[in-house]
Symmetry: C2
Subunit: 78 residues, 2 copies
């Protein structure tokens, strides 16, 4: 596994997306199908390994019927 720098904000974002995905009863496959985003890329986002773009985030939020703000909850602004 390539040694990738870990960013706490990306890890928190990934956990938020995973939790909301499960809450809304999506699998990674069904979320990938509905958003058109590659399933392995979604896995990378959820592990906090992808510096995801705003439009991709917006696409995921729309698919999960939530605000982007809900995906970014708990990410500190210190």
């Amino acid at each position: 596994m390539k040694n990738r720098k870990k960013y706490p904000d990306l890890i928190q974002l990934g956990q938020n997306i995973r939790n909301l995905r499960k809450l809304k009863r999506f699998t990674q496959e069904s979320l990938a199908f509905k958003t058109g985003i590659d399933r392995s890329y979604i896995g990378g986002i959820e592990r906090g390994e992808r510096n995801v773009s705003f439009l991709t985030l917006s696409t995921i939020a729309k698919c999960l019927s939530c605000d982007i703000a809900q995906l970014t909850k708990g990410i500190p602004c210190d």
Copy 2:
């Protein structure tokens, strides 16, 4: 000017960033200096022309002492 597709979500995000920047009495130059992000790139973000990455968004939010959620307010989840 190259004909760039316009994304309403990016335009709303850009306006939110501009409003908060002004509220916190930053110029584009001082925000650029403090974040290390190029001033012209900040201008592009505020005009809704840049599909900004999550970490860049997080850097801007931290500099403006606000949550990322505040930057994404008013972006619909229809």
